[in-house]
C-alpha cells in the first residue's frame, strides 16, 4: 500500500492521460462514424463495403497500429497523436455498423411523415433520424468506451504514458502493486465512462423514459 500512497499524484496523472487517450478518440470516432453510417444506409451498395471494411480495421493488432502510425501520418514515434488516431480508427470500426443500424431502426412511418412534412434530407437526419437512433448508438458507444479503455494501455509499450505504464513498470521490477493499481483504475475508469454515457443518453432522450408509462 505504501507504494500507492507515495505515488498517488503520479497515478492520478496517469489516469488523466488515460482518460484523454481513450476519451478523445471516442468523440472523434463518433463524429466520423455518423456520416459513414448514414452513407451506408443511404446507398445500399456501400453498406456491405463500409460495414465489412470498417469492421476489418478492428482486427489490426493495436501494437502494430501504434507502431505503424508515424509512417502513415508522418508523426514522431513517441507522439501521443499516434495513439489518438489509432484509437479513433478502432472507435470508427465499432461505431459505423451501430450508427447504420440505429438509423435503420427508425420506423418507416416516421421517416415518411418527416418527408411528407417537408423536412429536407439534412434536417431530417439531424432532427428526426439521429435523435431516434441515439439509444442504439449509445449502446455501441458503451462497447467502444470499454474497449478503448482496455486497448489504450498497450500504448505503454511504445512509451506513451497512461495507466498501462503501471503494467510495464510492475512487470520490469517484478512488483505486483502497480499492476494491481493499474487494473483496478482501468476497471473503475471503464465503469465511469459507461455511467457517463448512460447518464448523457438519459439526458438527451427524455422520451425514452416515458415509454411504458402510459
Amino acid at each position: 500500500m505504501s507504494w500507492s500512497i507515495d505515488h498517488l499524484p503520479a497515478v492520478l496523472s496517469l489516469i488523466g492521460r488515460h482518460v484523454y487517450l481513450a476519451g478523445l478518440p471516442l468523440l472523434l470516432g463518433l463524429l466520423i462514424a455518423v456520416p459513414l453510417g448514414w452513407l451506408a444506409r443511404r446507398y445500399r451498395v456501400l453498406y456491405p463495403l463500409l460495414i465489412a471494411g470498417t469492421g476489418l480495421l478492428y482486427t489490426i493488432p493495436s501494437l502494430a497500429l501504434f507502431i505503424l502510425m508515424p509512417i502513415f501520418i508522418g508523426t514522431r514515434i513517441l507522439d501521443p497523436v499516434n495513439v489518438v488516431v489509432a484509437m479513433t480508427i478502432y472507435t470508427v470500426a465499432l461505431l459505423v455498423r451501430t450508427v447504420a443500424d440505429g438509423l435503420g431502426a427508425v420506423p418507416d412511418s416516421v421517416n415518411q411523415a418527416a418527408t411528407a412534412m417537408g423536412f429536407g434530407r439534412v434536417r431530417r437526419l439531424f432532427m428526426v433520424e439521429l435523435p431516434l437512433a441515439v439509444p442504439v448508438i449509445s449502446a455501441g458507444l458503451r462497447v467502444a468506451a470499454v474497449s478503448n479503455v482496455s486497448i489504450v494501455s498497450v500504448a505503454a509499450i511504445i512509451g506513451v504514458p497512461q495507466l498501462g505504464s503501471l503494467f510495464t513498470d510492475g512487470f520490469r521490477r517484478n512488483f505486483m502493486e502497480p499492476i494491481l493499481v493499474g487494473v483496478i483504475a482501468c476497471v473503475l475508469l471503464a465503469l465511469v465512462f459507461d455511467l457517463a454515457i448512460i447518464a448523457g443518453t438519459r439526458l438527451i432522450t427524455p422520451w425514452q423514459r416515458t415509454r411504458r408509462a402510459a
Binding site: P107, S109, V110, Q112, A113, A114, T115, A116, M117, G118, F119, G120, R123, V128, P131, L132, T205, P206, W207, T210, R211, R212, A213, A214
Partner: protein, 376 residues
C-alpha cells in the same frame, strides 16, 4: 382543386402502379380514392406531394404544376396524415403538431399557441401538450396526427388510411369528428382507404380504382351505390347497396305514433297500469330523451337502468330513410323511436310505414324520369 392530367407511374420492372389517371379533386371537398390492394391509390396520393414522382403526366394544384415546385416547399403546403399517425416519438405532442410551423420558421410562442389551439380543435385536452406520443392511445395519436397536418393551415390535405389502425368504435368517432372538422374548415382533401363503407361515409365524391391504377368510376356516393358502371364497381361496392343507398335519402315527414312512456324509478305496477296489454314501454329521462325500452310484463320492483333494452337505434326527424328503417327494425317493440333535432322523443314509426315511404319516393322518381333513361 387538384387535377391529375393523364398521370402514370411505371416501375423499372414493368409494373404499372397507376395507368393514365385523369381526375379532379374539387376545392373544399373530400375526394376518396378506394380500391383493392394494388390499385395504386396510395401511389396516386403520394404523387400529389411528390413523395413518388410520376413517370408521365402532370398533377396540378389550382393552376400550378407540382413538378415545377421545390418538393420540400410543396410538401409544407400540404397537410399529410398517415396510418399509425407516424408521430415523432422523440418530440412532445405540442412539438409534433408544431412541426411544419417550425420548418416554416414561425416563432416559438406562436407555434406553441397554434399547437394548443389545434389540440382543442381535435378534441384533446391541452394538458397533453407536453406528453410524448407513446403516452397516448392509438386514437389519440391519430388525432394528434390530424392536428399536425392542420398546423400551418394548408389548403390541401392528403390522408392515407388515417383511421384504419384503430378499433371500430374509435374509428367511427374519429370519422364523425373528421366530418365535423371538415365542415368548419372546408379543406381540399384526398383520402385513401380500402374500406368502401368509409369511402361512402366520408366522400363528397368517391373514385373507385381497379388493379393497375385505372379509374373505374368516380361519382358521388349515392350515385356509386345506385348506378355502378360495371361488375367490378358493383362487386366492390358490395352487397346491401340498395339498403345503404337509403343513407343518402332524407326521410320524408311520416305520421308518428304517440307512446306511453315511463321514467326511471317508476314502480312496476305504475308501468303495467299505464301500458295495458302492450308488452314494451319506452323509458325517457326528465328531458323526454329516450333511454331504452322496458319489458312491461317482466319488470319487477322499480324501473332501473339495468333492465332497459338498449339494442334499438334512434332516428332523427331530419335523418335519412336508412336511420328510420333501422330504428324500426332494431326496436324490440317493432316501433322505431324518432326524436326531434334537440333529442326529445317525437314518436314512433313501424317498418312498413318506412317501406311505404320508400316505395312512393321511388315511384315519384321513376315518374319524373322519361322512360328508358332510368337505367344508368
Amino acid at each position: 382543386m387538384i387535377r391529375f392530367d393523364s398521370v402514370s407511374k411505371e416501375y423499372p420492372d414493368g409494373t404499372v402502379a397507376v395507368g393514365g389517371l385523369e381526375m379532379t379533386a374539387p376545392t373544399g371537398k373530400i375526394t376518396v380514392l378506394v380500391g383493392p390492394s394494388g390499385c395504386g391509390k396510395t401511389t396516386s396520393l403520394r404523387m400529389i406531394n411528390r413523395m413518388i414522382e410520376p413517370t408521365s403526366g402532370r398533377i396540378w394544384i389550382d393552376d400550378r404544376d407540382t413538378t415545377t415546385m421545390d418538393a420540400a416547399e410543396l410538401r409544407r403546403g400540404i397537410g399529410y396524415v398517415i396510418q399509425q399517425a407516424g408521430l415523432f416519438p422523440h418530440r412532445t405532442v405540442a412539438a409534433n403538431i408544431a412541426t411544419v410551423p417550425m420548418l416554416l420558421g414561425w416563432d416559438r410562442k406562436k407555434a406553441r399557441a397554434r399547437a394548443l389551439e389545434l389540440l382543442e380543435r381535435v378534441g384533446l385536452p391541452t394538458s397533453f401538450a407536453d406528453r410524448y406520443p407513446s403516452q397516448l392511445s392509438g386514437g389519440q395519436q391519430q388525432r394528434v396526427g390530424v392536428a399536425r397536418a392542420l398546423a400551418a393551415d394548408p389548403p390541401v390535405m392528403l390522408m392515407d388510411e388515417p383511421f384504419s389502425a384503430v378499433d371500430p368504435v374509435v374509428r367511427d368517432q374519429l370519422q364523425d369528428e373528421f366530418l365535423r372538422l371538415q365542415g368548419d374548415l372546408g379543406k381540399t382533401i384526398v383520402f385513401v382507404t380500402h374500406d368502401i363503407d368509409e369511402a361512402i361515409k366520408l366522400g363528397d365524391q368517391v373514385a373507385v380504382l381497379r388493379v393497375g391504377g385505372k379509374l373505374a368510376q368516380i361519382a358521388e356516393p349515392a350515385r356509386l351505390l345506385g348506378h355502378p358502371v360495371d361488375d367490378f364497381v358493383a362487386d366492390f361496392v358490395g352487397r346491401d347497396r340498395g339498403y345503404r343507398g337509403l343513407g343518402f335519402q332524407r326521410a320524408p315527414k311520416l305520421p308518428l305514433a304517440a307512446e306511453t312512456t315511463a321514467r326511471l324509478g317508476d314502480s312496476a305496477e305504475q308501468v303495467r297500469a299505464a301500458a295495458g296489454t302492450e308488452p314494451w314501454t319506452l323509458v325517457v329521462d326528465e328531458g323526454r330523451r329516450p333511454l331504452g325500452w322496458v319489458n312491461t310484463e317482466q319488470v319487477a320492483g322499480t324501473v332501473s337502468s339495468e333492465v332497459l333494452h338498449r339494442g334499438g337505434t334512434v332516428a332523427s326527424t331530419n335523418g335519412t330513410l336508412r336511420n328510420l328503417l333501422d330504428a324500426a327494425l332494431s326496436s324490440p317493440a317493432r316501433r322505431g323511436v324518432v326524436v326531434d333535432e334537440d333529442g326529445t322523443f317525437a314518436g314512433t314509426v313501424l317498418a312498413h310505414q318506412v317501406l311505404d315511404a320508400i316505395e312512393s319516393e321511388r315511384a315519384a322518381a321513376a315518374a319524373a324520369q322519361p322512360a328508358g333513361s332510368a337505367a344508368r
